[in-house]
Symmetry: C2
Subunit: 214 residues, 2 copies
Amino acid sequence: MGWSGNKRGEGGGDSRRGYHHGNLREALIEAALDLIKAKGPAGFTFAETARSAGVSPAAPYRHFRDRDALMADVARQGFERFEQFLSTAWNDARPDAFTALGNIGKAYLAFARTEPAYYSAMFEAGIPLEDHPELRQAGERAFAIVRKAAEALSADLPGKPPALMMALHIWALAHGIASLFARGDSGRRSLPMSPEDLLEAAVLIYLQGLGHKG
Amino acid sequence: MGWSGNKRGEGGGDSRRGYHHGNLREALIEAALDLIKAKGPAGFTFAETARSAGVSPAAPYRHFRDRDALMADVARQGFERFEQFLSTAWNDARPDAFTALGNIGKAYLAFARTEPAYYSAMFEAGIPLEDHPELRQAGERAFAIVRKAAEALSADLPGKPPALMMALHIWALAHGIASLFARGDSGRRSLPMSPEDLLEAAVLIYLQGLGHKG
DNA sequence: AGCCCATGTGAAGAGCTCTTACATCACTTC
DNA sequence: GAAGTGATGTAAGAGCTCTTCACATGGGCT
């Protein structure tokens, strides 16, 4: 697991000084991200990733079993960053739960917009979750942030609506808006308002429907 | 355009007696749908589609410029069916607008579940809309059904909230739930309730937030 | 009947995947 | 420190698939 350190005693931006790359695993993931960003999740091959990282086509097989394993690792890393991102936005319900939930929504859309490659790998690459349990777990950890927020809000609402249901509704709403309207810069559809405003309005209406005092 | 009739006279299920296939374009689309259903939108190739239709690998190039053109045509056909599906569910606001909107939601999820191949081609294939204007138009015609429903509901709500915004919210919600929870039979995540119930509850809460009398 | 062009075929070139044998380096052990 | 050892990368190649060419076929029009 401890794959974080670069083995060469670094001294500069010089990328490959010797025979060994030194950090090929990370370099492959970065190359894959660039290719996904440029040509979509289906638009890259194992050999192309190797070429892009400056190694022979056989080298990646030392680190990943096949293309899907690389894609799954990109997605797993994406979910971990996503969890961080959402957790920072939630910021332990500060200044208050309602505002913090709004920040989660903005963070969700910001992630989809600024990290389209991760977002594609996570949600659109079609990786079978049953073959990659660690990927499923990473996704559930990210969802847990939204669920925690829903629990905090539920406590202040009349009748204490089920937090899991609220979390699923909010996640689906954010995901739907991100998928349909906030992908890449060439937005897929024109809108009368920004995706962020659209999501904020939806969440506000939804919470009012649950008895939140606007 | 008149591509409906089979040119060869005979009777019988015999598929290709002569040199020409007779209806290759439609056969390729059907083969592509089967392959998308089996292996995902990225899991088929032009040559494989040809093989599946029983012709040589070069034959499809007479009907579609490349793989993307075939995929775009599948998606366009999918949007047209989708529009029909939603329109039937709406049924001109019968028996009443609220019930009919619920039927649209159920139809949305039913389409995603029973036609996963079309759904994948429409929303997950990553076809650039700017390259295929007829595809964008087909998508907008389908969205217009939801917008019509939103307009009917808005008229009965206090303050007449903007129908376009309502339609976008409902579409995003349905799309998010379909993408996350109602894909294929190997559902991606376990749920405490069916996707249909989840969506129905969300729409109900949302409309209550807009002042709908439950 | 005969021309014409839409439609389909077959062969060839390019690229990808994955394997096997070998080369090189980092770290350990004496 | 020097040799051993395992991890990491290279080179070469078999088998496959995709895509493009020139060529074959036959339905429809005059």
